[in-house]
């Protein structure tokens, strides 16, 4: 799988990120690094513990990272979630969190597949 194909699977915008970061090496480095970023597990933990201010920060961080890497799909759902949590819990937050979970799984799966391809 190429990096472009990985982006397609993720629902990301490869052209956009290449335009900003300007180096395939750099993009690859950070895409792989994404798997180790603790923000998602932090989000899951804090949502479960109903610590919504922490959950807001975690969602906000995911949003920022996705924005930088142009992971459009996950960016959109995490962005919606962070807005829903900005001032504490809102009724739509749990559904949005589930959407972030699904998008995260899809993103992480595609990156792992890409990583295996690299050998």
């Amino acid at each position: 799988m190429t990096l472009q194909e990985c982006y397609a699977a993720i629902g990301g915008d490869y052209e956009e990120v290449l335009g900003r970061l300007r180096s395939e090496r750099l993009i690859q480095k950070f895409v792989l690094k994404f798997l180790n970023d603790p923000s998602y597990s932090l989000l899951v933990e804090t949502m479960a513990a109903q610590q919504y201010d922490e959950a807001f920060r975690a969602a906000h961080t995911i949003k920022g990272v996705c924005q930088n890497l142009a992971f459009t799909t996950l960016y959109q759902s995490s962005s919606a979630l962070s807005e829903a949590l900005r001032n504490g819990f809102t009724p739509e937050a749990p559904a949005l969190a589930r959407q972030v979970g699904a998008d995260y799984q899809m993103t992480a799966d595609a990156i792992r597949a890409y990583q295996e391809g690299l050998g």
Binding site: F34, P38, G64, V65
Partner: protein, 704 residues
């Protein structure tokens, strides 16, 4: 500046996401040194230590511990924002937030997702801009200095012409200027009735050189007349004020320049008197411009202390006295206070200073004023010195094994030396430490409160507080000595702003001391107090509360010698220990129990009414059996009610009571009464009489 090219600039990246930090670091690390902070608190801590090394901060808004806005607020409070540019990077899109960030002094705002090229370009531009500004500050300073120097030179030439005609030394103009500036600075410091900026003072100083310019039009024969003026001559002489003013007034193009205006006022009115009896206009009080008032004082002082064609030089002290006593004119009382306050400095500088030095010194403050930059812009050299100082400080701090700290009230923040932070297992920066759980688990609230209270009640003159307390480290309580110096603001009245200080672990030495004290004050066998120490404690107690009821009890073991003889000395020691334990457990904490020597014990206690039952209880607690040895006690008791509160008398009386018991068959207790007065002593003599000595030895043979 050469240094700047070789030394790489440092950028601080503050963002809670490691991913985001490393994306930014990746873009910049080829050209810059990168320092990372994962929350606002860490960013502040890095700035606290290295603010003058950091060339730029890339700051995220949403962060744990302390967010980006709070970081900016601290940067404003500490005035770091003046020298360290901040670029905010955030996914934040709401304009209110962005505006707030700009208001807090950020230089630029980059929104996510960011473009590598733009981040790089903006960082470089901002750093260049700041470097350029620093350089420009230096340049402006240089240029102003040059310009000042030239115009000063022109003015000096001009005023020298006047002096030359006047046959004066050429120093008069310089001295007047120096004194004028000194007095003005003092006046401004004293109160704010006169709104004079450093620039105004400099202008008045320069203009003062022209105060006698009108003398150019006065006939030389009058100017240099050694004797007293005739009325007519004096009238002509007086015109130098109006002539000087007129000359300046006629410079149509420049007459509204501040310098020319000041020179005009000075020329015309430097011979006015505060009481209105001067010339040419007879102005009184504050109607005379302050510039002319000050120059008048300076002029008179220098005239008095210099030699003139009509007089000799007068010593400094005498000149000051003459001015204060209004022998050479009447001046503004406030100016007289300034004269007194600066008298010593005036004496030092009046005939020594080079005017270039004065103006060099003034330039800096003027430039600062122009740039309306609140703090002195640190030059490269200052930065190096600071860096050196900090290195020294850190090195020595690490060597001393002390916890060094700084506490500021606003923001409520505790900064610890790195060694100290390690030792306490705290961060180097702790926000709101008085309510921080970790801090409170180390030093309890009571101690924190009493320290805070002590620091608050210090004064700028006596700001140091020493506090010994127990600190909890790794679950162990250890004694620490905290020495802190309160910091007070320089305003009036001074405000408490926090403290600096250090905490030293004095546990081991304190324990050693306690052990030594214990050794010196206690009997090693029984753990009771020794006789000497008990005596000291009892004497203290008697002096403290002489009106209470006390009893002194002395007892010994009957037939103790036989225990030693039959069972050996080790057994004898065990018996003594046993009795000491029985005694310890039958008395109250306030009572004083001691081993008086051999098998004699001493007890001192306070009682309310029923002494007898207390004694009975103790007596029975002591009697009994230790293994096969039956313990029998003889006990004498003396009461302060009967004997008084002198230790020696009490002891002697109890001893006599004990002796009475010994005489009448042992195994009981007796209270001292007057019939026992003539009794001999059991225990070694108190009054040192031969008789007692003999007796004591005899009686002692029975049980020692």
């Amino acid at each position: 500046m050469a240094n700047e090219q070789t030394r790489r600039q440092k950028i601080l990246i503050a963002d809670d996401s490691e991913m985001n930090r490393s994306i930014l670091a990746d873009m910049l690390e080829d050209e810059f040194d990168i320092v990372e902070a994962e929350n606002g608190l860490e960013a502040v801590s890095i700035l606290q230590k290295h603010a003058d090394e950091i060339s730029l901060v890339l700051l995220d808004i949403v962060m744990p511990e302390m967010d980006g806005f709070e970081v900016l607020m601290v940067m404003n409070q500490r005035q770091w924002i003046d020298d360290v540019p901040v670029i905010m990077i955030s996914a934040e899109t709401r304009s209110s937030q962005i505006e707030r960030a700009y208001k807090l002094g950020i230089t630029d705002f980059i929104s996510r997702p960011f473009d590598a090229l733009i981040v790089h370009r903006r960082v470089v531009n901002t750093i260049l801009l700041y470097a350029k500004q620093k350089k420009l500050v230096g340049l402006v300073e240089e240029q102003i200095y040059e310009k000042e120097r030239h115009s000063n030179l022109m003015i000096e030439v001009l005023s020298h012409i006047v002096e030359f005609r006047n046959g004066e030394s050429g120093m008069h103009v310089r001295n007047v200027r120096t004194l004028t500036e000194l007095l003005l600075r003092q006046l401004v410091q004293k109160n704010n009735r006169y709104q004079l900026s450093p620039m105004d003072i400099s202008i008045i100083g320069t203009a003062s050189a022209l105060h006698d310019i009108g003398k150019i039009a006065i006939d030389e024969a009058i100017l240099n007349k050694p004797g007293k003026f005739t009325d007519e001559e004096f009238a002509i002489m007086k015109t130098h004020t109006t002539i000087g003013a007129k000359m300046l007034d006629e410079m149509v193009i420049y007459r509204d320049e501040p310098l020319v205006r000041a020179a005009h006022d000075i020329c015309r009115w430097h011979h006015e008197r505060y009481d209105g009896r001067g010339y040419p206009d007879g102005l009184a009080g504050d109607a005379i411009p302050i510039s002319a008032q000050v120059v008048a004082v300076a002029d008179v002082y220098d005239a008095l202390t210099s030699e003139r064609c009509y007089k000799k030089a007068i010593p400094h002290e005498q000149a000051i006295m003459m001015i204060l006593e209004s022998k050479c004119g009447v001046f503004n009382p406030e100016l007289m206070e300034c004269l007194i306050a600066t008298a010593d400095v005036i004496q030092d500088v009046a005939h020594n200073i080079k005017p270039e030095e004065v103006s060099r010194r003034n330039i800096q403050s003027i430039t600062q004023e122009m740039l309306s930059h609140e703090e002195l812009t640190a030059s490269e050299r200052t930065l190096e010195l600071l860096e050196h100082e900090r290195m020294k400080y850190n090195f020595f701090a690490a060597l001393t094994q002390e916890i060094q700290f700084e506490y500021t009230l606003s923001p409520a923040m505790l900064t610890l030396s790195s060694w100290g932070a390690n030792r306490l297992k705290l961060g180097e920066i702790v926000m709101d430490p008085l309510h921080n759980e970790n801090v409170l688990s180390i030093l309890d609230e009571k101690n924190l409160k009493s320290m805070t209270a002590a620091l608050h009640s210090t004064s700028p003159k006596k700001p140091v507080v020493t506090h010994d307390c127990r600190v909890c480290l790794d679950g162990e309580k250890r004694w620490f000595r905290i020495i802190a110096r309160a910091t007070w603001s320089s305003e009036e009245p001074p405000r408490y702003t926090g403290c600096i200080g250090k905490a030293m672990d004095v546990h081991d030495s304190r324990m050693k001391l306690t052990a030594l004290e214990q050794l010196a004050s206690h009997d090693p066998l029984t753990g009771l107090l020794n006789h000497a120490y008990a005596r000291q404690r009892i004497t203290e107690r008697l002096a403290e509360l002489p009106n209470c009821h006390y009893a002194m009890v002395i007892f010994d073991l009957d037939h103790f010698k036989s225990a030693n003889d039959t069972y050996g000395h080790i057994f004898g020691d065990q018996v003594l220990k046993h009795v000491a334990n029985c005694l310890q457990s039958s008395i109250r904490t306030g009572d004083i129990a001691a081993r008086a020597g051999g098998d004699e014990f001493l007890l001192f206690l306070e009682y309310d009414t029923d002494l007898e039952s207390i004694i009975q209880r103790i007596f029975h607690a002591l009697c009994g059996q230790y293994e096969d040895f039956p313990i029998s006690i003889s006990m004498g008791i003396a009461r302060t009610q009967i004997v008084g509160t002198v230790y020696e008398n009490l002891f002697h009386a109890a001893d006599q009571a004990l002796y009475t018991v010994k005489r009448s068959g042992r195994g009981q207790y007796k209270f001292y009464n007057d019939t026992m007065k003539q009794m001999l002593s059991v225990i070694s003599p108190i009054d040192g009489s031969q008789e007692d000595d003999t007796h004591s030895a005899q009686e002692g043979a029975d049980y020692k």
